[in-house]
Symmetry: C2
């Protein structure tokens, strides 16, 4: 008899965004006239850059000719893209990452999940709290999380590192020994960043304890302050302990284009094995590369025109973040993030619960947000607002929230 993966059956049923969708649908069914503004889900809304569109058209044309047709590409991505990434995202910052350390993929979500394939199931996993749910759920599926404790909202075997106001939303190194450490800066959901010193402490810990840091820097393009690290490899020692995940999703509006990459340095060895070789084997066996047309689009991001165009779009979203952050702060609310990230982490007023304030905003301001509690127990008492909306709608949302609160 076929046995299913029992770990799947331990996953709690209701997923954050489906619960939000359910509450939104229920409200709009009763109030079809309501003009809802969505500052909840983290999807981009601005079109692809003209340079990307042009490159994709050209690549589509190639695919229609004998001479230009591209069949199976390298599982790791085409050299033209890997080289552009190495040059612009790393060498230009003084960071030495070789093209063969870069694996192009269909998404940071896929990579963050699939990376678990190369690790044993008995590693101790540390995650921030609040956290992007994919890190937790994929480890639960693999059996590293143990059992879900409904009453605590936590998995039995995961080590949770609270990121709260008291520690500036930066995780502290846990007392117990941990093996796989998920870090995400600029952070989803809190929008906060880590300094070089803070990351250095993590790199030192990982090297001393032969742990691995799984570093998600999907939002690095939103960094505005000079001293904030864009990549973990700016930190000395990271090449022997860290894997980095990057994405074109937020950097270049590729959420519907599906392209990302993962960096696994050649020096990174654990348990006698080179992780670059293991990930290469994983990708060659269970993945067949990213569409040629999409990789050509991604490569156009690195042209002079492409860089200028994506920076305009990012500036547009950054301005939204400023509007939210400053508007709500002026109204006496406490906001974190939004300076180096497209996310604003808003403390609920008067100690309201996350879902309670979510419902209030939904019904009284017709603004859709994301309850912080959905990202983990330490997210209780917060909501997440995103800067990916239309500029006018964002201003209107802030005005409505202020009106609702009477300030």
């Amino acid at each position: 008899m076929t046995k299913v993966n029992q770990n799947f059956l331990k996953l709690p049923g209701s997923y954050l965004f489906s619960e939000i969708a359910r509450r939104l649908a229920a409200y709009t069914a009763e109030h079809p006239e309501a003009k809802m503004i969505r500052l909840g889900i983290g999807d981009v809304t601005r079109p692809l850059a003209p340079a990307v569109i042009e490159a994709m058209h050209k690549a589509v044309d190639e695919m229609g000719t004998f001479e230009g047709f591209h069949g199976y590409g390298p599982e790791q991505g085409y050299d033209f893209l890997r080289e552009a990434i190495a040059k612009t995202d790393y060498a230009a910052r003084g960071v030495d990452i070789k093209p063969e350390e870069i694996f192009v993929s269909d998404g940071a979500k896929s990579d963050c999940g699939n990376i678990g394939d190369i690790f044993g199931t008995d590693n101790v996993v540390a995650v921030c709290d609040p956290v992007y749910p994919v890190y937790v759920d994929t480890n639960a599926m693999a059996g590293r999380a143990g059992d879900f404790r409904e009453e605590l909202g936590k998995w039995s075997k995961l080590v949770y590192m609270p990121c709260v106001e008291e520690n500036g939303f930066t995780p502290e190194i846990p007392q117990e020994k941990v093996d796989m450490i998920y870090l995400c800066f600029p952070n989803n959901p809190t929008g906060t960043v880590a300094t070089k010193e803070q990351l250095k402490a993590w790199v030192d810990y990982a090297n001393e304890n032969k742990a691995v840091i799984l570093y998600d820097s999907a939002y690095e393009a939103f960094i505005t302050q000079d001293d904030v690290p864009h990549t973990i490899y700016e930190i000395e020692g990271a090449r022997t302990c860290a894997i980095e995940f990057r994405s074109f999703s937020k950097t270049a509006g590729f959420t519907g284009n599906r392209c990302a990459y993962t960096v696994v340095p050649m020096e990174l060895e654990r348990d006698g094995a080179k992780l670059n070789a293991l990930w290469n084997r994983r990708q060659c066996t269970k993945f067949n590369g990213v569409p040629y047309v999409i990789q050509r689009g991604a490569a156009a991001v690195y042209t002079e025109e492409g860089q200028r165009q994506i920076k305009e779009t990012i500036a547009y979203y950054q301005e939204n973040a400023r509007v939210i952050r400053e508007g709500l702060t002026a109204a006496g609310l406490t906001c974190f993030g939004g300076v180096n990230a497209p996310y604003i982490w808003l403390k609920t007023p008067d100690g309201m619960g996350s879902w309670e304030f979510f419902d209030k905003l939904l019904k009284e301001a017709n603004v859709v947000t994301t309850p912080g509690a959905g990202f983990g127990p330490s997210g209780e008492g917060y909501i997440r607002l995103t800067a990916f909306g239309d500029a006018d709608a964002t201003k209107e949302a802030v005005a409505r929230i202020r009106t609702m609160l009477g300030r």
Copy 2:
């Protein structure tokens, strides 16, 4: 200390196609003047259909506008594509598959590998011998294959089902109980097919023993004979025991476009769980859908124009298969497959070994093939030829082989 997945370390180093590439490179380095013809690797060579190109251009244009921009799509694929698949690939054959049973993905290779996520690691896995290496390697990575026995060329825990001349290259139901059964028809590498009666026996076995059939029908578009089943769901009872993998790669030349789909019927339950729900959870957690532009291209395959155009291309490859099959048969060689598949399974003359005959063809005819032994022990004594080349080059290759053999 981080532990790696020890199963990765058990994988034998040299992969079939890299060994072929190595031998080819060594030969051409010594003979730079040689005009090599490649009938080895299974990649298509003809450009995408005009209808697909047109749809992709249109979709690229949409992605460049506010109104037409598509961000995150449904992880399972857009309805327009799932509905077109259900209608054309299934309903038109009298098979009832609902859109919600179809999961669009970036490749059958990915799905064949990732499907293992939803199953326990203690299932007994049965594979054909010879076999597409991905089924074996992904189970080895998950720990279901045991240890590799170099001297036998087999994994200790896998159940191998020989597909040889004596049984018409159709696997017999094994004596031992098995839980997960990989079947591929039209078959890669042998190019042979299974009859409805043969598949019925497998479906009955799977239902009686609560096993699951993982049915790869990536080559169904090449079927020419009326009574050959295109889908496992033509067989009564398959909805309660089978998952089917399909791909646009060979059907519509999408190897560089990356689009495929997997069917998991709603009735399919094992171990108290609906496999459709488990796969849905897997895809929603570790995958983020196929690019919008690619899905629009795939949907164009189902238009009247698209269907006509892809059939022309398939006919072109089928003619190549005929040329190889008939030409080599006329030369007194024994060929299998090539009637309902793009693969010809050629018995080596005079009992030569696979690699020996591969080397002879490489050096004396300058034709690159794939040694059957690379697909498993029962592939010894065969080579695989593919019909995806240029028509003139294919004719020339056959002529060269005949000249080489003096017949």
